[in-house]
């Protein structure tokens, strides 16, 4: 596939493994084995069975009739919100837990922002009987309380991170530090298509099932696939098998926060420049001195100052169009879906839905929105916004 990672771990100019020497053995071990394990028949069989019977895949591709009528077009929702644990994140964590078992790792660490990846990791670890530690920014612990309780109930230890902006970026730093300090028995399940090579590709391969299913479920190709982008795992999952179908318009929607003209935003591709964050070269929001800027989004899962290296590449080669919507636009889109379709979407996914307001439609268009997660975790934000 022409957009796949190369031998050196790069997508065009982006990617690589900017890691300290202390992580070199771990990354090498993973790099030399992950493709082989992912392609192993027994692994594929075990993962497929779990995805079917435990996660509930394939998730429906639902034709949203009233939403379609509202916009005068044909809108399909890929229902990742119906996955066990309520988001696409479980596709990745189950795959990585099986991978960790094959690498003989007994301890799992993860970072989380909204808590969806943390819950999905805690779930997979409970299922496999593995120790699970989740790093979460103190600010996110506060605003995503239900998911913190879920992780704890599932047996995970949630470690509060107080450095930096106390959000996803800092939780990721802390997970990387944990891995440096506990290399031999620990596997780090990174939650998005970010981090050092081979993680962006590993997570891409595990999330690609989303677009694989869309392709099978749809009669012909869609005209558009729209997904929200923080680190970018649900978007890559929804885009991957369409990347070489150049007629399909792919749209990634970043979190504009209060707007990209304010200093409260998380729209990395709109506001960022090239640099290295979390060990890969990509775009990131930074000062002229290379200090990472603390982002803002109403959605904890999109509140990230970087973006996966494959997205950076797809942006530069113009295969994917990246746009952004504000906190307010996302909230309005969430309400629209609730009222027209009876679905409460995650705040993250609401960003993808909000992009519909910016599109011009042809009545024959077939638009797929990746509904990456459900909104249970966001109830307090929705309630506060409504009052």
């Amino acid at each position: 596939m022409k957009y796949d990672v190369n031998e050196q771990g790069f997508y065009g100019d982006f990617g690589g493994a900017f890691i300290p020497e202390m992580l070199y053995p771990n990354i090498q071990e993973l790099k030399s084995s992950y493709r082989k394990i992912l392609n192993d028949d027994a692994f594929k069989k075990e993962l497929a069975s779990l995805l079917k019977d435990y996660v509930g895949r394939p998730t429906p591709l639902y034709f949203a009739k009233r939403l379609s009528e509202h916009y005068g077009s044909n809108i399909y929702l890929k229902r990742e919100d119906l996955c066990h644990t309520g988001a696409h994140k479980i596709n990745n964590t189950l795959g990585q837990v099986l991978l960790a078992q094959r690498l003989n790792k007994s301890r799992i660490i993860a970072e989380t922002g909204a808590g969806q990846h943390g819950v999905a990791t805690a779930t997979a670890c409970a299922l496999m009987g593995l120790e699970c530690i989740v790093y979460m920014g103190a600010k996110d612990i506060e605003r995503q309380a239900p998911n913190v309780s879920r992780m704890k109930m599932l047996g995970a230890e949630v470690r509060s991170v107080h450095s930096g902006s106390k959000t996803l970026k800092d939780a990721t730093n802390e997970a990387i530090r944990d891995w440096i300090n506990n290399q031999e028995d620990t596997h780090y399940i990174i939650g998005s298509v970010v981090g050092p090579d081979p993680y962006p590709d590993l997570v891409t391969q595990l999330q690609a099932i989303i677009s694989e299913e869309i392709k099978k479920q749809m009669d012909g190709l869609p005209t558009h696939v729209v997904a929200c982008v923080g680190g970018g795992s649900n978007a890559i999952g929804a885009f991957y098998h369409f990347l070489e179908d150049e007629t399909v318009k792919l749209i990634g929607v970043e979190a504009g926060g209060l707007g990209i003209k304010t200093d409260k935003s998380a729209a990395t591709l709109a506001l960022g420049s090239r640099g290295v964050l979390h060990a890969s070269m990509s775009y990131l929001m930074q000062t002229s001195d290379g200090q990472v800027i603390e982002p803002h989004s109403i959605s904890a899962g999109l509140d990230y100052p970087g973006i996966g290296p494959l997205h950076a590449h797809l942006h530069d080669c113009k295969r994917v169009l990246y746009s952004n919507v504000t906190d307010q636009e996302a909230l309005e889109a969430a309400n629209r879906l609730m009222q027209l379709e009876g679905i409460i979407p995650a705040l993250e996914s609401s960003h993808a839905l909000a992009y519909l307001e910016k599109m011009t439609f042809n009545s024959k268009d077939k638009i797929v929105i990746n509904l990456s997660g459900r909104g249970d975790k966001d109830m307090s934000t929705y309630i506060n916004a409504a009052t």
Partner: protein
């Protein structure tokens, strides 16, 4: 020949390198601290250029980075401050790839040369990328790259790192983040006692988790010297005068 290489040539053992974070504890303390360390007999200093996301650093150095950034430190200001430091003590800078990349690597190297920096430690700079893109540049500006090795670094990789080095090699005492002191280093540490038998051409300085005079004596016995970071930063944190603190710290850490 750089000041750093001269020191490494004349002093073959018992080297002491002390790390300080530029802009910490106060914005303009760097020259005072560096000059005091020199007066106290320290062989070289490692100057940390703060970064918002220092993944190889433990809590102490993370905090000093955050404080320094809050104080308003910038790379340009650090280069200004370095001009006020005595030229007699060898200086290496330690930072992460992103600040240097954003600043511009060549511009950064130029500035280093201008203010008498002899070596650069960028722990997250991949060796392959260094060879492909920056080796010539570092040479042109008389800068020695300083690479980290760990107990897990393979023989082939050690050889490569030794070949690419031109000053010293930075051995981390155990694979960890900085300042992860877990009760001191022990004399029975086979990694430390085996360092001199690795057969490397360049001197080895051991850093990470050296917090007492015993730790320092131990690494100075087994390697060519030691590097102290977190312990010094911690020491500075509650002292009124960084100058007095620097001298006092060196006295305490080198006793015995």
């Amino acid at each position: 020949m750089s000041t750093l290489k001269k020191v490494l040539e004349t002093k073959k053992e018992g080297l002491l390198n002390i790390y300080c974070t530029a802009g910490y504890p106060e914005l303009n303390d760097l020259p005072t601290i560096v000059n005091a360390l020199h007066d106290a007999g320290v062989d070289m200093v490692e100057i940390g250029i703060p970064y918002s996301d220092p993944i190889a650093d433990g809590e102490t150095i993370q905090k000093s980075n955050a404080v320094a950034l809050k104080n308003g430190i910038t790379i340009d200001l650090i280069f200004e401050q370095l001009k006020e430091c005595t030229p007699d003590i060898p200086k290496v800078v330690m930072t992460y790839f992103n600040p240097v990349f954003k600043y511009g690597l060549e511009h950064f190297c130029q500035q280093c040369q201008k203010v008498g920096v002899d070596g650069i430690i960028i722990p997250d700079l991949p060796i392959g990328l260094y060879q492909a893109s920056y080796e010539e540049m570092f040479k042109n500006y008389g800068l020695s790259p300083i690479f980290l090795i760990t107990p897990q670094t393979s023989k082939d990789r050690l050889q490569l790192i030794d070949d690419l080095s031109s000053a010293f090699i930075y051995a981390v005492s155990s694979s960890s983040t900085t300042g992860k002191a877990t009760g001191g280093l022990s004399d029975g540490n086979t990694y430390l006692s085996g360092l001199k038998d690795l057969g490397l051409k360049h001197p080895i300085l051991v850093g990470f988790n050296i917090s007492t005079s015993d730790d320092l004596a131990l690494v100075q016995k087994h390697a060519h010297g030691g590097i102290i970071g977190s312990a010094f930063i911690k020491y500075l944190s509650d002292k009124p005068s960084p100058e007095v603190a620097a001298q006092q710290f060196v006295k305490e850490i080198t006793k015995g």
